[in-house]
C-alpha cells in the first residue's frame, strides 16, 4: 500500500525517538542511583583496608566526575555492554538474559488470563450497561484496582495454598524436585512442552497459576473498563445504527463495534504489558519469582547499580517496542491511523 521508503522513514523516526527516550531514562536512573551512596564499602565488606577501598573505587571509576562516569556508561551501552554487576561479578546482559524469560512468562500469562476475562466481560457489560454482568464486573474491577497486587497475591496464596491446598507454595517456577527442561525460550511452560516433559509442564503451570491470576486481577481491570466504555460508545455510534437499519445480524453489528473498539483496547493491552515487564516486582517478591523485577530490587538493596540501570533500560526498551508494535497493529486495523502516520 505504502512504499517501502515510507515505512523506513516512519520506523527510523520512531526508533530515533525511542533512542532519545532511552537516553533520558538512562540519564535519570544513572543520576538517581549515583546519589544514593557509594557501594564500594559494601562490596569489600568490613575488613577492607582504606587502600583496598581506594583501589576499587579507582577500578570502578567512582573517583571520576559523575559526567565522565555517565559518558563512559553510555559509551559502553552503545557497544551493547550494560556493565558488570559489582555484586555477582557477572555481566548484566547475561543476568538479564537469564531472568527476563521468567518475567516474560509471568507477564504473558497474566496478560493472557487478563484478556480472557476482561475483554469478553467488557463486551457483554457494554451490551447491557447497568445489567448484572456489568455490575459484577464493575465490582471485580474496583476490587482489582483498589487492592495492591502483593496483597492480592498473598490472599490467593492463603486461600489456594494454605487453606485449600490446591496450588503449590509460592517458591518460584517449578517444584523443588522437578528438573528444569532444556532451555530453548526460557519460558518453562514452552520449554517443557518442547522437551515433551509433561511433568515439568504441569509443575510450571501450577506455579504460574497464582502469580498470573494475581496480575490478571490487579493489572488488567483498565482493559475491561476501556473495552466496556469504547464498546458502549461504539454501540451507540452512527455506523452501528446504520448497520442495524440495513438489517445486518446483531452479531455482525457487534463485531463492527468490537472491531472499532479494538484499537484503543489493543493500545491499552500493550501499555499493560509494558507495565507488567517492569511492574511485576511485588508479585515476583510474593511468589519468589526469579524475574527481572526481583533482580532490580535485590540489586538496589545491595547498591549494585549496573543491574538496576540494566533492568530499567530493558524494561523501557520493551515498553517502547511493544508500543511500536501496538501502533503498527493499530495501523493494520484502522486505515485512518495508517494514513495519519504520514
Amino acid at each position: 500500500m505504502r512504499s517501502s521508503s515510507f515505512w523506513l522513514v516512519y520506523l527510523g523516526r520512531r526508533v530515533a525517538a525511542a533512542l532519545l527516550a532511552l537516553f533520558g531514562v538512562a540519564l535519570l536512573v544513572f543520576v538517581v542511583t549515583r546519589l544514593l551512596g557509594d557501594p564500594v564499602n559494601l562490596i569489600l565488606g568490613a575488613r577492607a583496608t582504606p587502600e583496598q577501598i581506594a583501589a576499587l573505587r579507582r577500578e570502578l571509576g567512582y573517583d571520576k566526575p559523575i559526567v565522565e562516569q555517565f559518558l563512559t556508561y553510555i559509551g559502553n551501552l552503545l557497544q551493547g555492554d550494560l556493565g558488570v554487576s559489582r555484586y555477582t561479578q557477572l555481566p548484566v546482559t547475561e543476568e538479564l538474559a537469564n531472568r527476563l524469560p521468567a518475567t516474560l512468562e509471568l507477564a504473558l500469562a497474566g496478560l493472557f488470563l487478563g484478556l480472557l476475562w476482561t475483554v469478553p466481560l467488557g463486551v457483554i457489560a457494554a451490551t447491557r450497561p447497568g445489567g448484572w454482568v456489568d455490575r459484577v464486573s464493575q465490582a471485580i474491577v474496583e476490587f482489582g484496582v483498589a487492592i495492591p497486587s502483593f496483597f492480592c497475591g498473598l490472599l490467593l496464596v492463603l486461600l489456594f495454598t494454605y487453606l485449600l491446598g490446591i496450588t503449590p507454595p509460592p517458591v518460584g517456577r517449578l517444584d523443588i524436585g522437578t528438573a528444569a527442561p532444556a532451555r530453548v525460550t526460557g519460558l518453562l511452560t514452552v520449554d517443557s512442552l518442547l522437551a515433551g516433559d509433561l511433568r515439568a509442564f504441569g509443575s510450571s503451570l501450577k506455579y504460574l497459576a497464582l502469580p498470573a491470576i494475581t496480575l490478571a486481577l490487579t493489572s488488567c481491570p483498565p482493559i475491561l473498563q476501556l473495552t466496556r466504555n469504547t464498546m458502549i460508545g461504539a454501540l451507540r455510534s452512527n455506523y452501528v445504527r446504520g448497520a442495524r437499519s440495513f438489517g445486518l445480524p446483531e452479531r455482525t453489528v457487534r463485531w463492527y463495534a468490537l472491531k472499532n473498539s479494538l484499537v484503543p483496547v489493543f493500545t491499552m493491552t500493550a501499555m499493560t504489558f509494558g507495565f507488567l515487564i517492569g511492574g511485576t516486582v511485588l508479585v515476583e517478591t510474593v511468589f519468589s519469582w526469579p524475574g527481572i523485577g526481583l533482580y532490580a530490587v535485590q540489586s538496589m538493596q545491595r547498591f549494585d547499580y549496573e543491574p538496576v540501570l540494566g533492568v530499567v533500560l530493558l524494561a523501557s526498551a520493551i515498553y517502547i517496542l511493544v508500543y511500536l508494535i501496538a501502533d503498527l497493529v493499530s495501523m493494520a486495523i484502522d486505515p485512518r491511523v495508517r494514513e495519519g502516520a504520514s
Binding site: 490446591i166 507454595p169 517444584d175 517478591t285 519468589s288 547498591f303
Partner: protein, 550 residues
C-alpha cells in the same frame, strides 16, 4: 457471545475465543492432574520436601553474591562458600544439647583437608601437610601445588579476604614454599597464635585447581569470572544446579572423606521473610534462614518447628565515635552505659535469648568475668557522671542501617531510656551503603549495629581487627596505647597464660573507656523443622550442612 460464524470477521473472533478458552481449560486440567499425580512435590501442608529424606531445603532471602571464596562478603555467600570449599582446618565439635553441636573453642582447630599443621619451635615456620586421600574433583589427591595455587590466588587477587594471610604476616608469595608433593611451608615474620583458626576461614577454602586453571584467560589469570559464577568446589558439597534468583542445588561430594546425611541441599530463594516463616511452618522447607530476631521469636511456638538457640559471640553494639565531642569524654560514654535498661532490652526486644552483655563477648573463652562490667543499669550514676562531665542537655545522633531490623528494634527503647536522664538521642536511619561508608569515615557521632563479633575467638584477632588504633574495624576512633601495646604483644605471644593476661588487660581498658556499649549478645538462633538435628554453631554463625540430619 456470537451465535453462528457465518460472517468471516465474526467467525475469526469466535474461533480465537474458542481457542483461548480451550487452552485455558487444558492448562487448568493439566495443572490439576499434575497436582494429583505428583503429591510428593505438590503444595499444601502435606507437600514440600519433608517427605524426601535425602534432600534438605533451606529457604534463603537471596542468592550468594559470588561462588568465589576470595570474594565472599555477605553472610549468604559465606555460608555457601563454607560448605562447598574444603577448609584447611576445622574446629572440633562439642555437644550443645538437643542433638545440636557447638564448636569446641577450647581446643585448637584440627586438620580437615590437612593431615596436620605444625608450628616450629620458634613459631615462625608453619608446615602444612595435605591429608592422604583427600581428593579434588578434577585432579584427585590434594597436592602441595594445589595449596600453593590457593595461597597465590589469595595474594594475587588482593581482595579483602587476603586479610586471612595478612593477619599472619604473610603478604608476599616468597613466604610460601613447597617442601614436597603434599607439604608446603609458610614463613611468618613473627610467631602467630592463630594459624589454625585463620586456616578455617571460609575465605581460605581450597579451590579445584585444575578447573580454575582451565578457565583462566589472558585478562583474568585467576579465572575470577568463572569461579564467581560457576564455582570450583572441593568441599562436602558440589554444585548440581544454579539458577540465580531461583535456587542453588548442592549435591554431596562423593570424594569427600565423610559422607553427609543429606544427599542434596536446595537453597531456595524466597525473598519475603514472612513467606519463609510460613513455608517452614507448613513443612515446605526444612530451615528458614535470614529471619530477624522478631521473626524467629514468632516462630518459637509454631507446631513442627524447633528454634535452635545457642549462645554466640555476636554483639549488638551502640558504638561511640570517641575521637570527637561529645563522646571524647569517657564519663559521657559511661553515663550512657549506666542509663540503658539491659534486662528490659533482653526480655522485650531480644526475646529473652541473649547473654548478659560484656565489653568482650561473654561466650569467648578469653572473657574475663572478674572485671566489673560497665553495663549495669544505674540511672543515678548516669546523672551524676553527666553532671561531672559538665554536659547539659546532651543531644546526639545515632545512625542505623535500614537493613538492620534488630538495630532499629533496640534503638527505640534506648532512646526512651536516655530521655529519662535528659539526653536526646535522634535516630538517623540510613541506607546500608551510606551507613557502612559513614562507619568507615567515622562521620557519625554514634551508631548501632548488630552482628558485631569475631569469626575467630582469639584476643589477637579481636585486637588486630577492632581495638587497635589502626584496626580496620575500629569504627570507634578508639585509641589507647595500653591496648595497642597489648595487641602488638599478643601477636607474637604463644604462651597461653601470658595471652590470657594480655586479653584481660585489654578488657580492663575497654571496661573503663567504654568505646561502645554492648546492648546484648543475641544467641545464634535458627528455626528448623523439628526433625532436623545436628545444627552446628561456630563463631562465624554459618551453618555446616555436612552435619545436619533428619
Amino acid at each position: 457471545m456470537f451465535s453462528r460464524p457465518t460472517l468471516p470477521g465474526a467467525g475469526r473472533l469466535r474461533a480465537v475465543c474458542a481457542a483461548l478458552v480451550a487452552v485455558a481449560l487444558a492448562a487448568l486440567l493439566a495443572a490439576c492432574g499434575g497436582s494429583d499425580s505428583d503429591s510428593s512435590s505438590g503444595g499444601g501442608s502435606a507437600g514440600g520436601s519433608s517427605g524426601d529424606t535425602s534432600t534438605l531445603t533451606i529457604g534463603v532471602a537471596g542468592d550468594p553474591e559470588t561462588l568465589d571464596p576470595e570474594f565472599g562478603q555477605a553472610q549468604r555467600a559465606n555460608e555457601t562458600l563454607k560448605n562447598i570449599y574444603a577448609q584447611w582446618t576445622r574446629y572440633e565439635t562439642a555437644d550443645a544439647g538437643d542433638g545440636d553441636l557447638r564448636a569446641d573453642l577450647s581446643k585448637p582447630p584440627v586438620g580437615e583437608a590437612l593431615e596436620s599443621y605444625r608450628i616450629s619451635r620458634d613459631g615462625r615456620t608453619v608446615t602444612l601437610t595435605a591429608r592422604e586421600g583427600f581428593r579434588l574433583p578434577s585432579s584427585g589427591q590434594l597436592t602441595a601445588d594445589d595449596m600453593l595455587y590457593k595461597t597465590s590466588r589469595l595474594l594475587g587477587l588482593n581482595a579483602a579476604s587476603v586479610f586471612d594471610l595478612n593477619i599472619l604476616g604473610v603478604t608476599r608469595p616468597e613466604q610460601i614454599r613447597k617442601v614436597d608433593d603434599r607439604t608446603i611451608e609458610l614463613s611468618l615474620p613473627q610467631p602467630s597464635p592463630i594459624v589454625g583458626a585463620m586456616l578455617r576461614d571460609q575465605d581460605a577454602g581450597l579451590v579445584d585447581t585444575e578447573l580454575v586453571r582451565r578457565n583462566a584467560t589472558g585478562g583474568d589469570e585467576w579465572a575470577r569470572a568463572f569461579v564467581g559464577r560457576t564455582g570450583a568446589p572441593t568441599g562436602a558439597y558440589l554444585i548440581e544446579d544454579y539458577q540465580p534468583g531461583n535456587q542453588l542445588v548442592l549435591r554431596a561430594n562423593p570424594d569427600y572423606p565423610e559422607a553427609p546425611f543429606f544427599e542434596r541441599v536446595v537453597l531456595k530463594v524466597i525473598p519475603s521473610a514472612d513467606e519463609r516463616a510460613q513455608l517452614l511452618r507448613n513443612g515446605t522447607i526444612d530451615i528458614a534462614a535470614d529471619l530477624t530476631s522478631d521473626g524467629i521469636t514468632r516462630l518459637a511456638d509454631a507446631d513442627g518447628v524447633r528454634v535452635v538457640s545457642v549462645p554466640g559471640l555476636q554483639q549488638t553494639q551502640l558504638g561511640f565515635v570517641s575521637d570527637k565531642a561529645p563522646f571524647d569524654d569517657a564519663r559521657v560514654r559511661q553515663a550512657i552505659a549506666a542509663a540503658i535498661p539491659y534486662d528490659s532490652l533482653r526480655d522485650n526486644v531480644l526475646g529473652g535469648e541473649s547473654s548478659a552483655p560484656g565489653v568482650w563477648p561473654t561466650q569467648s573463652v578469653w572473657y574475663d568475668d572478674s572485671i566489673p562490667s560497665p553495663y549495669a543499669t544505674d540511672v543515678e550514676k548516669a546523672r551524676s557522671l553527666l553532671a561531672e562531665a559538665g554536659v547539659d542537655n546532651l543531644t546526639f545522633d545515632v545512625e542505623i542501617s535500614d537493613a538492620d531490623a534488630d538495630a532499629e528494634a533496640l534503638a527505640i527503647p534506648v532512646q526512651t531510656a536516655l530521655a529519662d536522664i535528659g539526653v536526646t538521642m535522634n535516630i538517623r536511619k540510613l541506607n546500608a551503603a551510606q551507613f557502612q561508608e559513614n562507619l568507615g569515615r567515622r562521620s557519625a557521632q554514634a551508631w548501632i549495629r548488630s552482628g558485631m563479633g569475631p569469626y575467630v575467638d582469639d584476643p589477637y584477632y579481636m585486637a588486630f581487627l577492632t581495638w587497635m588504633t589502626r584496626s580496620v574495624v575500629n569504627w570507634y576512633g578508639y585509641s589507647n596505647p595500653v591496648v595497642d601495646r597489648a595487641g602488638a604483644e599478643l601477636a607474637r605471644t604463644l604462651d597461653e597464660g601470658k595471652r590470657r593476661e594480655l586479653a584481660s588487660t585489654i578488657q580492663r581498658e575497654l571496661a573503663n573507656d567504654v568505646p561502645m556499649i554492648s546492648l546484648g549478645e543475641p544467641n545464634f538462633r535458627l528455626p528448623v523443622r523439628e526433625d532436623i538435628r545436628g545444627v552446628l554453631w561456630e563463631p562465624d554463625g554459618l551453618l555446616t550442612y555436612r552435619l545436619l540430619r533428619r
